[in-house]
């Protein structure tokens, strides 16, 4: 039995090493079959760390002529003194940041029609569609903007604008 465990651990480590080479074909093959996320990626904040903030905004269409103003959805609650121990918002913040970053990357390679069926698009759309809003809202549209952080002279820029989507009937 011991030999099987040694082989499993050795193979797991070798695959983990290949897993650090993001663009290698072996890595892409193993990641394709890694449904339990057991191949780590240890490239924290490198080589190019995220140095901008993404902003997710949405607006609703009430009828043909009227729509709401753009409203920003807070992706980060900001710093708290106990964040070193307790930070329950980090997951939501990360999934939205990851989805938004993926959306930006995919949108450079893909037409909007295909983009609308991708997981990051669906994550953002599903979230935005279920936010509290006016009962008069019929459709919603989201926008992703980018700003340069706390200290910056640069104005935020629009990175992505979605189509309008019908809101769920229950709203």
């Amino acid at each position: 039995m011991g030999i099987i465990i040694y082989l499993i651990l050795a193979l797991w480590f070798i695959v983990s090493v290949f897993g650090q080479f993001e663009k290698s074909k072996i890595n892409q093959f193993f990641r394709g079959v890694d449904h339990f996320s057991l191949i780590p990626s240890w490239t924290f904040f490198g080589p190019n760390p995220g140095t901008t903030d993404y902003h997710l905004l949405f607006r609703d269409q009430f009828d043909e002529d009227s729509k709401s103003n753009w409203r920003e959805i807070k992706l980060s609650d900001g710093w708290t003194w106990y964040i070193w121990l307790w930070n329950p918002n980090k997951r939501k913040q990360k999934v939205l940041s990851d989805a938004v970053a993926s959306l930006i990357t995919i949108s450079k390679k893909m037409e909007l029609t295909g983009l609308k069926t991708t997981i990051p698009y669906l994550i953002v759309l599903n979230y935005v569609s279920h936010l509290e809003r006016s009962p008069l809202s019929r459709q919603t549209q989201f926008m992703i903007m980018e700003s340069q952080g706390h200290i910056s002279d640069t104005k935020p820029q629009v990175l992505f604008l979605s189509e309008k989507h019908n809101l769920p009937d229950s709203k």
Partner: protein, 276 residues
């Protein structure tokens, strides 16, 4: 008793510390999920209805119904509550069979967690997965000293790989080598803290020093295995401070528990290498 003798942990003590740090860290991380339970509902960012579309080929027939039973809201939260209870119980010295059952539940829950989340997991989640599976194997082969040894080597190797990879990719990044990376990260609202960003903007040499300090620390980490234990411990203390500062400033709290949990394995492997 000198320092080396007193720090030369026996395997059981090392496994105890790896386990304790893992169960506390994973437990906190799971309670955090429960605190943000709405995110796992149909309307939330972790909606199973959205995530399941990534591998819809797997979700047909009875398997679909069974998986949905575990992963749909609110059932998924019941799995999380169970994981918190299991983590709490594993902190107590139950006998071997009870621990094995608890660890089996933890591994199954962890795999469910990982299967469900296509987005949003971070490095600490990856390391917790590795640690928990290793703790399970260790408990399963509790009397097999060679397997225990293999687990320590594997964990120490993963720990060194994580720091080395992180250091290498940073050393290839212009923002890191030019020294603006630390300022630029702390200047974001996502991972930053305004007073520190203001300070680093005023004193850019501090940002440059910190950027290079991080690169050098991460690149140098694997030598922890071959350094005399006294120096290896200094490097590990720097590691603890590094992760703790990241937790305080950037909110990466789970990383402290996950990465420090690998350190007992690093110390054990170091003492073996020193003894050769």
């Amino acid at each position: 008793m000198n320092l080396i003798e007193s720090i030369s942990l026996i395997s059981n003590e090392a496994i105890y510390w790896i386990g304790t740090l893992t169960y506390i860290g994973f437990g906190i991380s799971t309670i955090e999920k429960l605190a943000d339970f709405r995110s796992y509902s149909f309307q939330g960012v972790f909606s199973w209805q959205v995530n399941r579309t990534i591998s819809k080929g797997y979700f047909q027939g009875p398997s679909s119904r069974f998986l949905s039973l575990l992963m749909d809201y609110p059932n998924f939260l019941v799995v999380q509550i169970l994981l918190v209870i299991v983590c709490g119980l594993l902190l107590f010295p139950f006998d071997h069979m009870v621990r094995l059952v608890l660890l089996s539940i933890l591994v199954i829950g962890l795999l469910i967690d990982n299967f469900r989340a296509s987005f949003g997991n971070d490095g600490s989640d990856q390391l917790f997965s590795i640690l928990i599976i290793c703790l399970f194997i260790s408990e399963l082969f509790i009397d097999h000293s060679a397997i225990q040894k293999a687990i320590f080597i594997f964990l120490a190797a993963q720990s060194c790989l994580s720091y080395l990879t992180s250091g290498v990719v940073k050393a290839r990044g212009k923002k890191w080598t030019s020294g603006i990376a630390v300022f630029a990260i702390f200047n974001t609202k996502t991972y930053g803290f305004k007073p520190i960003a203001i300070f680093l903007n005023r004193y850019p040499f501090v940002s440059k020093f910190l950027s290079w300090a991080v690169i050098i620390f991460e690149l140098a980490f694997p030598i922890v295995l071959i350094l005399p234990l006294e120096y290896a411990l200094i490097l590990l203390v720097i590691g603890v401070i590094f992760h703790f500062m990241n937790a305080i400033i950037m909110g990466l709290n789970s990383f402290v528990w996950a990465f420090v949990a690998t350190y007992p394995a690093v110390i054990i492997v170091n003492t073996w290498i020193q003894a050769v």
